[in-house]
């Protein structure tokens, strides 16, 4: 789960990590009130969306007066911001963070992530703050300070000192930094973060260390022990069909193509999307109905695909393991009885209880294009794609 900057900064404050004075605003009046409370101009107005690169996308502005705070906020809220991370459609801004502007001496980068390769917690830091860490790492790996932490031992003071001295912090600042980094590590572990990033972390002209930005991702698997953090979930940042699917424990991701697909298992679902692409079409979604799925979940999943207006063809690809073909068939048939299916549906099934699944499909009034062979199914998708008209919507060309 991704947190907004202002939510991450709330957590920072709990851990005594300094952040600029500020507050969240959902409309221009609130923004103006916050600016007035801060009392020093200019202030910074930052769009709160789940995407980075906001500065270049026009999502971060300086305001020199309360009136300007009002007018800028008025302009930003309700508009879509396009950044390198939002895709072409951009992201609608619904709230802004209003903050004091600090006098900055030095900008640093600091991030904590999970390193899959070593199975350790990895702290990364750099003297070049505000950078794109991935670009920087690719361009000059030696410029980035890396310290690996054994998850069972946890961070040790010397780790922090090493990083502080490598960052060439002055004597008055490095002790502050050591305390701050220990706090950030504690937060990372306490909240099961997969990413905690401060970019930039700044040294102000008054020699204090402040987190100018804040980015936190939390491991979805850990939610059972972080019920309190669920209130931070911002459903408005998510695709409505994805939210709907998640209510039924379905793993659905909306994409740009127009061949809807429903598959059991994440690996096969990805491979099925690839098959659609190879057949000359483009997947409209990723949907893994999972192994322990029920007739109701299959019905719901099929319904969600059909409710996607972009979908012109549906491909259901099931290799029955734990999910039996008869359960799948029942769910699909039930959905088809309730929803008017007016687009072609290809069903490919094989595996556990195939005979029963086949019988259920054949005896229903719902008549999908049926096959038990994957190559056959791909051929059929390719025929539809070749026919053009059906999949020819220009805006969905991949």
């Amino acid at each position: 789960m991704r947190l907004h900057e202002y939510q991450a900064k709330e957590l920072f404050k709990k851990y005594n990590i300094s952040v600029p004075d500020g507050g969240i605003a959902f409309d221009p009046d609130e923004a103006r009130a916050t600016a007035r409370r801060i009392g020093r101009f200019p202030v910074v107005i930052k769009a709160q969306i789940h995407a980075g690169g906001r500065g270049k996308g026009g999502g971060i502005k300086l305001a020199g007066s309360t009136d300007e705070v009002y007018s800028l906020t008025h302009r930003i809220i309700g508009t879509k911001i396009v950044t390198s991370q939002t895709g072409r459609e951009g992201k609608l801004v619904r709230k802004v963070l209003v903050e004091e502007k600090l006098e900055i001496d030095k900008e640093l980068y600091l991030g904590i992530i999970i390193d899959r390769k070593t199975s350790k917690i990895l702290i990364m830091a750099s003297e070049a703050g505000g950078i794109d860490i991935e670009d920087a790492a690719a361009a000059d790996p030696d410029k980035i300070i890396r310290v690996f932490i054994d998850p069972n031992l946890g961070i040790q003071p010397f780790h922090c000192r090493e990083i502080a001295f490598d960052l060439k912090l002055t004597s008055s600042v490095w002790k502050q930094f050591v305390g701050m980094l220990q706090s950030l590590y504690r937060l990372f572990v306490d909240y099961d973060c997969s990413l905690a990033e401060i970019n930039p972390l700044v040294v102000t002209s008054k020699e204090s260390i402040v987190a100018l930005d804040a980015k936190i991702d939390i491991d979805d698997n850990s939610m059972f022990r972080h019920r309190n953090i669920l209130e931070y979930r911002d459903i408005e940042e998510e695709d409505p069909l994805e939210v709907e699917a998640s209510r039924f424990n379905l793993n659905y991701i909306k994409m740009n193509g127009n061949v809807g697909n429903m598959v059991n298992g994440a690996g096969l679902a990805m491979a099925t999307m690839d098959i659609i692409k190879l057949a000359g079409a483009a997947p409209a979604n990723f949907l893994d109905v999972g192994g322990g799925t029920t007739i109701e979940m299959v019905e719901k999943g099929f319904g969600i695909i059909l409710s996607d207006k972009d979908v012109k063809l549906v491909f259901i690809n099931i290799f029955g393991g734990i999910l039996r073909c008869d359960v799948l068939a029942k769910g699909v048939v039930q959905a088809a009885e309730k929803i008017d299916v007016n687009i072609p549906v290809i069903v490919r099934m094989d595996g556990t209880n195939i005979e029963e699944g086949r019988r259920i499909l054949f005896e229903s009034s719902f008549k999908p294009i049926y096959t038990e062979n994957l190559k056959d199914a791909a051929q059929k998708i390719s025929e539809f794609a070749g026919a053009g008209a059906m999949l020819g919507g220009e805006r969905h060309k991949v």
């Binding site: 998850p151 994409m255 994440a266 690996g267 990805m270 393991g321």
Partner: protein, 291 residues
């Protein structure tokens, strides 16, 4: 021959009284697996499918000589179950559980570094040596005993698809292993490739990877430097959008890294025969493994 599990495996099921545990215990027995014990704390002395259930792994090992464990415990208890198995000398621990927090798994892996146990998974379908022993949730009937091909994969149903295509081509399997779709797992591609390379009955390997992390790249390097047997590769996720977690916790392209394209290129460079179209994987393998 085979790797990790065979007819001598004495299997213990942790979480045997839960819905999943009970169902798959039954399925594994039906396949011929020698299940000797179950463990569910507080449920000692009941029997499931005539298998004795114990309160602790220690007691189960003492009484039955179990040497392999299959873990169905839910995410909040799974790491506890894994460590309990390791501390009681279980050699192969297969964790089926999906949804274990990654920080918990990192701690377990760091701890297991000093133990004799091998952990497979979590979030995996398990291991099967066709005709001998099924430790997992895969449908047994799609497999063909006798080898000569080993299969290793990060996925579940995608592996079934691959195995089924091999079987339809008349190509049997020595052992098929799902190593799991999580970012931190116990047994890597390299561990399995190494074991297959040493197994005299395995003549070739099919390796199924997916987006996220760099395990395939590491495997490619290992194959280049250490393997004589032929490896066929397939990578899922060419069309996966960056930054999104594709079902598996570990299947995510982050910061432009971990893409299918990168992995395919690395594996090709490592000398792996890459199959780009899943629909024809069976035929592709038949061709590559012909000699």
């Amino acid at each position: 021959m085979s790797i990790f599990v065979d007819k001598n495996t004495r299997l213990l099921v942790q979480g045997i009284t839960g819905k999943e545990g009970r169902f798959h215990t039954h399925q594994c027995i039906a396949y011929g697996t020698n299940i000797v014990a179950g463990v569910t704390p507080g449920k000692g002395r009941v029997r499931i499918d005539d298998i004795p259930v114990f309160n602790t792994v220690g007691e189960a090992v003492d009484k039955t000589g179990a040497n392999c464990s299959m873990v169905f415990a839910p995410p909040q208890y799974a790491t506890d179950a894994i460590v309990e198995a390791a501390d009681n000398g279980i050699e192969i621990i297969v964790a089926i559980t999906e949804g274990i927090p990654v920080l918990d798994m990192m701690k377990v892996r760091s701890y297991l570094g000093n133990a004799r146990s091998r952990l497979v998974g979590p979030n995996c379908p398990g291991i099967i040596t066709p005709g001998q022993c099924k430790v997992g949730i895969m449908p047994g009937f799609i497999h063909k005993p006798g080898g000569p091909i080993g299969v290793v994969s990060r996925s579940g149903t995608l592996t079934y698809e691959v195995v089924n295509q091999l079987t339809l081509q008349g190509i049997g399997q020595t052992t098929c292993i799902g190593i799991g779709g999580d970012p931190v797992i116990g047994t890597s591609f390299i561990d399995c490739l190494d074991a297959f390379e040493r197994d005299p009955d395995t003549k070739g390997i099919v390796m199924v990877g997916e987006i996220g992390g760099s395990a395939e790249e590491a495997a490619a390097e290992f194959i280049y430097n250490n393997m004589k047997k032929k490896v066929v590769g397939f990578i899922a996720g060419l069309t996966a959008p960056p930054g999104r977690r594709m079902g598996h916790a570990g299947a995510i392209v982050s910061g432009g890294r971990g893409t299918a394209q990168e992995k395919i290129a690395a594996l090709k460079e490592g000398g792996v025969y890459m199959c780009e179209d899943l629909c024809t994987l069976g035929e592709f393998c038949a061709e590559v493994f012909k000699q």
